[in-house]
Symmetry: C2
């Protein structure tokens, strides 16, 4: 069985830790790794890394690959989508890729940013799902509800499938209910949460798409022809310009709505797997360990007289006093203080940031790049100070700037600097100046992280003032 | 009449804006200036700057002088105390200074960090106080109470003074009452808050000290002999080593307790001056304007569904959601989130920071120096990045470091750098390296602020690794 991890989060619900360019699945919120790392880790006992695929927005491709590097994930198993088109299109394209590779391929679909607190049960359920998928069923996992949740879709259990413990026909897919309906569902005992985990043969889902979503299915072949390995060093799958245009023109629709609600071929496994979608900051209450006062405190926190509160901080001191049911999230450039029962509205805060044209809704102070990252530490009318980290073996593009000169000082590791016709090797405590318009390239030839401070001078200090003459990551 | 401003705050109640080395009177909390600037501004219609004196802890001398520079305050009117000894000793020494200068001197005493929202009434009350002081009274201002406050001392009004509207003998000084007593005081209508503003002849208070606090009075002459202009450029009044030792050995006692409670010579002016001691963060509610939701929001704040909350921020984005009666104070290195009704306990938070040996209770990220300031922006195991600001015309000491080299890059203004036998003039975008053990001095010869980034390298990066060969501010 192949695993397909859909990593398409938008980054608004866990703001300011998550941002548009760095959504929830790339964050470390619970457990030892980031959400997507935890998702991979959970699958490995059943699905080897060679059989895992990931679909994500192209903005997150670099960071996703970097996070999955530890598992020896193959970059060409990552499909970078040019825009967010919900699940049907991504699943269709992945099914096509897998069916082309192996006509009998069975694929399971996993959201990248959920929690499963009973991983052994999860594996058993997936084994059962694989067996059912072999029989051409569309298999879904149904989670026994524990509260009248209005934020999820529901599965209404039909008749029990012969010879299979806990497996049912699905009578109906129900969309997110209102509270009184959700209460009825909970009492009735035949309704389950739809957790977005599915399993089926690639050829089966393609047939279903052909029948129920022909507008999508009819374009998959063309999209396949537009797939290419990304230029430069990254080496993931992406669409060429024609493919991007086509992809963008197709309907944005969920697989639930496109296929599952319409198919008569769906079965459900009642799944006691400790599932949680961790939908907002207050959901940490359900999945994290608490101290004796009911608090979940991460970072450099000093608490006094606080109960049932969540602090997600870092190095900076966060002192909290007399808080009840509050959430405090501290990042370098933005702070959130939120009543726990308003967690769902964090999304609206981010919307209003975006409306005001503020970058804090989209970008972190530390911006990830294929070669490493940079962080703006200080700025003035005509200067800007950045901390730049270059990963071992990586290099920035050969570039020049029209409006600024730069002064670099290495503080950790070593740097190789090309500047016009010359090449310099800089060790710790050595500096170099890059004049305006000089063609230059910064590389880390060593085996440890290169850290340097860049001081920019000029009357226009803008990320767009960069003329790339050559780039190993294929950027223009 | 002379004015004596006592600026001896401890910096714990308005943490993290105020710190031990930068207490409340030096902070901008309300109105246009810092608390001490507002205090001076309020007095100027009655007392010219040449007649104002300030007593403060030596740690705050530099910043206090810098803040009062705008008013052309004379540095030798600032008395830097080697340690905090409450009000009796400071007032006694100031009285001695003024009596030596002018045998008929009348002096009024003002806390540096209170608010007076009716400044015109205040001036009228002070004129009345001056007239009464001339008649050898110890004059106090009594504030009609508006709530059963347990945090203040009270004055119990005695018989009315003939011919003086609103002036009474003081029957008794009462210490901070418990709540039921405070309620009785409020109902009774003859109790007033003791706001710490006094007026008297210098010779009168000296006589009273001689009678009621002879242990202090008997040492004033010796302390006077130990007074000196501070060495170097600062030029304020300080005690020599012998004086510091004597000062430190004397009792720490308030003028209220040492004299006022014991003297039969005290009168009180009922003072409707809009007084507020701004004792903790929640007091801003009483002295600041609020928006339509009852919030007081300062800085880069985005609020949604928040009521009656206080945010004191700066450039960093603070997003608040669903807050009621909360306080959020954001500074570069420390954040406070506090329920409004716990404001008084901020003090305890700071105590526990100090107990844990954390510097955030005492020092700001930006550390003020006589020549300007520095801010640590980043650090690693063997490097440290500082932003250094040097005021026009100022210079650091001629110094050397045993354990670190430094690399400076000017980003605003210009620098004169002495390095061993050489002198360099650096403009914007120019750098210099200072090797270990090189004698060096950084100066700002220009008329605008010098800003530079300093990158330190070494295996011991410590403020104490500084060997001063020469210092214009008299530091060793």
């Amino acid at each position: 069985m192949y695993g397909v991890i859909l990593a398409g989060g938008s980054g608004t619900r866990f703001w300011p830790i998550s941002r548009e360019q760095s959504p929830k699945q790339l964050q470390k919120l619970i457990g030892t790794g980031t959400m997507i790392q935890n998702t991979v880790q959970r699958l490995l006992p059943l699905i080897p890394i060679e059989k895992l695929y990931v679909g994500t927005h192209q903005q997150q491709a670099i960071e996703t690959l970097s996070q999955l590097g530890a598992y020896k994930f193959s970059p060409d198993h990552l499909l970078a989508e040019p825009c967010s088109k919900n699940t049907a299109l991504a699943i269709g394209l992945m099914a096509k890729i897998l069916a082309d590779k192996n006509a009998d391929a069975i694929m399971a679909i996993f959201p990248a940013d959920h929690v499963v607190s009973k991983p052994e049960n999860f594996i058993k359920v997936l084994q059962k799902a694989e067996a059912l998928a072999k029989k051409d069923f569309l298999v879904t996992l149904g989670i026994p509800p524990t509260r009248p949740e209005t934020g999820f879709g529901y599965l209404n259990q039909g008749s029990k499938l012969e010879d299979s413990e806990g497996v049912y026909q699905v009578e109906r897919f129900e969309e997110k209910p209102d509270l009184s309906t959700a209460q009825k569902y909970l009492e009735q005992g035949t309704y389950f949460w739809n957790c977005g985990v599915f399993a089926w043969k690639a050829t089966t889902i393609l047939k279903e798409l052909q029948q129920h979503a022909p507008d999508i299915h009819s374009q998959l072949e063309t999209l396949m022809d537009c797939l290419q390995r990304s230029s430069g060093k990254l080496d993931h799958l992406e669409l060429n310009d024609k493919g991007c245009e086509l992809f963008s023109s197709l309907p944005s629709i969920s697989i639930d709505y496109a296929v599952m609600e319409k198919s008569s071929n769906v079965v459900m496994i009642s799944s006691d797997i400790g599932w949680n979608d961790v939908g907002a900051w207050n959901a940490l209450d359900e999945v994290c360990e608490k101290d004796s006062m009911g608090n979940i405190l991460t970072g450099n926190v000093l608490a006094r007289d606080c109960n049932n509160s969540i602090v997600h901080g870092n190095n900076r001191l966060v002192a909290i006093l007399g808080l009840n049911d509050m959430i405090v999230v501290d990042t370098q450039d933005a702070l959130l203080v939120c009543a726990k029962d308003k967690s769902q509205d964090v999304k609206k805060l981010v919307e209003s940031l975006n409306e005001k044209g503020k970058s804090e809704g989209k970008l972190h102070a530390t911006v990830k790049k294929p070669w490493g990252s940079y962080t703006v530490l200080d700025s003035g009318p005509d200067f800007l100070l950045k901390r730049i980290e270059v990963l071992p073996g990586e290099a920035l593009s050969l570039q020049s700037h029209q409006h600024r000169s730069e002064h670099w000082t290495v503080v950790s590791g070593s740097a190789k600097v090309d500047r016009d016709e010359e090449t310099f090797h800089l060790k710790v405590n050595e500096s170099i100046t890059i004049p305006k318009n000089a063609k230059h390239r910064l590389a880390n030839p060593g085996s440890e992280l290169l850290i340097l401070f860049e001081i920019q001078f000029g009357n226009l200090l803008d990320e767009n003032d960069i003329l790339r003459h050559e780039d190993r990551y294929g950027r223009r």
